[in-house]
Structures are given as C-alpha cells and as structure tokens.
Symmetry: C2
Amino acid sequence: MRIAVLGVGLIGGSIGLAARAAGAEVVGFGRSSERLETARERGAIDLAARSLEDALRGSDACFCCGPVGLLPAQVQAALDAAGEACVVSDVGSTKAHVVGAIGDERFVGGHPVAGAETSGVENARADLFEGAAWYLTPSERSSGVLLERLHRLVRSFGAQPIALDAATHDRLLATVSHLPHVLANVLVAQAARTLAQEDEPLPRVGPSFRDATRVAGANTDIWTDIYVANREALAAEIDETVTRLRQVAASLRSADADSLSAWNDSAREDRRRLLEADLTGEDVAELRLTVPNRPGIVAQVALALGRADVNIVDLALAPASDNRSGAMTLWIAGDAQATRAAELIEDLGFPVQKP
Amino acid sequence: MRIAVLGVGLIGGSIGLAARAAGAEVVGFGRSSERLETARERGAIDLAARSLEDALRGSDACFCCGPVGLLPAQVQAALDAAGEACVVSDVGSTKAHVVGAIGDERFVGGHPVAGAETSGVENARADLFEGAAWYLTPSERSSGVLLERLHRLVRSFGAQPIALDAATHDRLLATVSHLPHVLANVLVAQAARTLAQEDEPLPRVGPSFRDATRVAGANTDIWTDIYVANREALAAEIDETVTRLRQVAASLRSADADSLSAWNDSAREDRRRLLEADLTGEDVAELRLTVPNRPGIVAQVALALGRADVNIVDLALAPASDNRSGAMTLWIAGDAQATRAAELIEDLGFPVQKP
C-alpha cells in the first residue's frame, strides 16, 4: 500500500505516522520543501516527492490536507494525477463545498475530528486519531471499492469511520462548532462596544464571560475559510439562533418567569445529556471550590486526585477579582469518583460545593 | 457601629465576618433559625435576632441579602423598621428594579461582585470582598451622609466601592454576565434539537462547545430572578445581538471573506483588551499543548510552573475524543513568565504552541 499525503502539517503528518505504523509506504508533497524535510526527519513520510504528479504515481490512496478554501482545487489536481484505482480523500472540516465541486467516482470526502488545538508537523502523532471520529462523506457517485479501502485505512489509523452525507455533516458541525465561534465573536464585540460607550472597564464578574468567549477570534485564516466554505449551513443556524433569542427577549419583556424557568431548566438538562454522551457515558458531576490563587494550588488538588486514581474530565480555573483567590470547577465522571474527589479536596481544607 | 444583616448565606455571612473583623457588632436575621445558628457558630454574626424589628433596632447600617426577586419588599421592610440615621443597602446583582421601587433617602443600592461560584454560609469568608469591586448605586434622593458611611464600610471590608447609576450598572451586567448565560442556554437547546433531528450523537469537536455552554442552565431560582429583574436591559442587549448576528449571516450569504476576516480579527483584539484589563494589566499569553489524559498530568505541569513561581491566570483542559489524551490551554500573564512556562513544559516533554 502506497499513500500520498498532500500537505504535511499536524493532520497530514499524523496520517503519515499512522499509515507507516500500519505498514504503508508514505510519500509526501507540499509547498514548503523545508516542512517536507522536517516531516521526513520525524518519520511522518518515507520520501518527499518533487511534484504532485510524482507523489500520486503508483499511490493507492491520497489524502489532501490543504487549507479548506483550497481543497476543491487540490482534490481536483490530485484526481488528475492519480491512477484509476486510487482513492482520493481530504481532511477538511466542512464537506459540502468540496463534495459538490468534485464529480469523480474516486473521491470520498473525509473529516477526522482531532487535533484542533495544535498545529504543525512538530505536533503530529501516530496515535492522533486513536478512537477519534472520522467522518466520511461519500456521494452517490463514489466507488464502493474505493470507499471500502478508505474505510479500512481510516480504521487502521485507530479512528472510527462514520459515514454521513456532506450536508448533514456540515449542519452538525455548524451547530456544535462554527456557531459557538460566531457567538463568541459577537459577544466580545458587543461587550467591547458597551464598555467603551460607558467608559467602564470590564466588570469583574467571574468566569462566565471568559468561558463564553474563549474561542473568540480564533485563527483568522483557518476560520474565514471554514465560515465561507460552510456559509449556507451556518447562516441557517444563525437564523435559528435569532429566532430563539427573540423568543427569550419576548419572555423577558412580558416578565414571564415561568417560561424563563422552564427554558433554563431544559438548557441544563440538554447540556447534561449532550456532554455526558460526548464524554464517558457516565454522569459527570461538577464540583466547585474556592482556592487561594497561588502557584501550586491546582497541582495540589490535581495530585491528590491523581494519587487516588480519580481522573479530571474537565477543569476550569478563574481568578477572583482580587487575584488572590480563584474559583475552581472540576468535572468528574461517575458518582463514586466525584464523591471521592470531594472528600479528598475537603481533606486539603477547601470546602467543596456540588451544585 | 452596629450592623444588621438580613439573610446569612455566602454574601450575608461574609459581610458579617468582614464587619466583625473590622470591629463592628453584627446582628443577623433570616427565615431559617437553623441557618442563623450556623452563622453564629461560624462567627459571622454576634447574635441572631428574633425579628426584623429586633435586628434593625439600634443598627447604623443594614444589608439586605435576600433573593433578587424579594429585595424590594425586604428593603422596604428594613426601612420601615430602621432608625432615621440607619443606612439600608442590598447586595442584589441587578439594581434598577430595587432602586426604582424605593424612594427613601436612607437607601443606597449595592452589588458586591464576588462569590458567584459557591453559596451558603459554610463558604463565607472574612476576605471574600478583598479587592473586589462593590458597585454602589445611589439615587438623587440618597442621603450624602449615609452614602459616605456605606462607602467607608464597604472599604473596611477590603472592597473597592464604585458608584454608578443603577441603569448603567444593569446594562453593563446584562452585557458581560446575563447575555453570556442567555447565549449558552440558546446554544445547548439548539444543538440538542439539531442532533435529535439528525439522530446523531454530539460530534466530538473539542472544547469550544463545552466552554461556550459552561454556564447553560445555571441555578434556575437565582437566574430567573435575575432575568426578570433585569429584563429591560437584557432584552435590549439581545436585540443588539440579533442585529449583529444578522450582519454575520449576511456576510456569510454573500461569501464576503474580507469582512469575515476583519470581524474575526477585531474579535480577537477585543477579547485581548477586555480580558487583559480584567486580569492583570499585563499581556496574557496563551499556551497550548496536548497531554496524555491520565491522573497527575495537570499536577505535573502546574507543579513545574509553581516551583518556578509562574502563576497560571487561567487554565482549560478538555479530553480528546479518545479520552486518552487531552488539550490543555494555559494563560500566563507577562511575556517573560509565558516564555519561562513554555520552557518548563517542554522540559516535561510536551511541545507547546503559542498561537
């Protein structure tokens, strides 16, 4: 099995490492010969091709790992150079724009859900896809034989292939990934304007604003590409958000406490269900505590839990307004683990609250 | 100085502890005699009054710490029982609804920005307000002498009093606190519906959804009160969000990459400015790394930084889809500290990315 990887960053590099670990020969190609050399040194590719044609010659599969906006062109170029029995896929995080642009039976769109947090071949790992979802978005034209090969390949990387039509994929991602980015951007822009108007600094109101805006202004090159590529699905999601916000505004203006309470209760329930499903299949308990804001405190808490083999699913730390204490929130999977965690933390002298 | 505290939870109890530490005598009153007894045992009050009238008799100042929805009635009852030279204040997180309801010159609204993360007199601390902002919202009617007394009192608790008119206060809090809660609720509700329609589980897309919805479905009793009390200002903020979202949807539908890029860049800049001002006055650098998801890793990183006296301003940890590794993001104040932190973490074998 010979595999071509076009673009050797975090994802391309990790595909190379995983494919080589699974016994394939990997040939890389990209715009930067320096980056290709780094990829070779790190064992992500067996050899660096001098041209796209060289990379595709004799390959059984090809992964296009370019920027989202350039994918239709990159995929088409790969198909033009590929043999008749070569499956060509991509790894872009939106799918309809590329699937719609390509009519070739050798193409199957893909999207490994991994590695959003770092970039560069320096962070590539053979196990990056281990247990990760890897969406495959075949069209009606896609060759069954080649889809099967891609499916097996993705499984050999440790990923879990999930076949989905491109439009559904994009709608899902718009909801749970792209929309949160839009809301974060809108929220910071609005707060910045309000505070400037009032000539006030940001009131020190705890971690909610910080958490809600954590992804505001994420990498502009990457995100502009994603926004443009997924513009239809995302605009439809925004329309729905607008409808929902207007309902909330109407409940507020009529001081409808009952409907606001019910809405808030169901949001709590929705989040619990969504994130439980996401994480562990177990109930995730939330523990809150106030700790002194000094070096080593997080370590002290995490170590106490670590020694007792209690794993922290998620953790948030926010300094209080005096910058001398902080609110720490821990999410622990499983009631028994959570109870144990609370005991351990209280032994350290920090009272724990389970909301 | 004798101070009456009506309602001895986290805030009332902490006022009692702080006031006693500053030399005042504190009398408490509340609906639950059990909770009053706990407050007395913990030193938050000198004595528990049998009635509101007993609590106010001879008091120089009174803090009303009831639920937001009941504050106008509680403040009025306190004023009815208070002497002519007693300043009455409250600690509700919205102000116009109570300031507007009370015409007495002895009343000055207040809002200490502290303690949102825990509740109950068990978590009360004498230093809860140390360095915290404490908004005071006097009206034109408020007595200057009594405002000055309240101001001095709040300072004696270690807080930083900030005088603001009630409407401006509520608009600020609507923007940076109440609106993020509304958006989080809307986002989870919308995602839950989309996923149910598609019969799909939550795609495992990293921490953005988790962060953006962290406050979804916060305590319904408290938040319904806040929403109703601040309904006008919050509805106006929602209107503005709707306008902004429609602009984004329009840019998307016209595939206007330039305007999307500019919007995203300015969001990043807005967030940096807002949170820097909030935190330290220093640049806050963001470090990202991928770590194995096992007990003790957070501790290892935090300890290494702690030993070198590098303080973590904020920290987010999210498990990857395989639940075996996780993305860790650290925010460190000051370029030198951030560089040092990156070195220390890389010494542990985790490559660090500074976006």
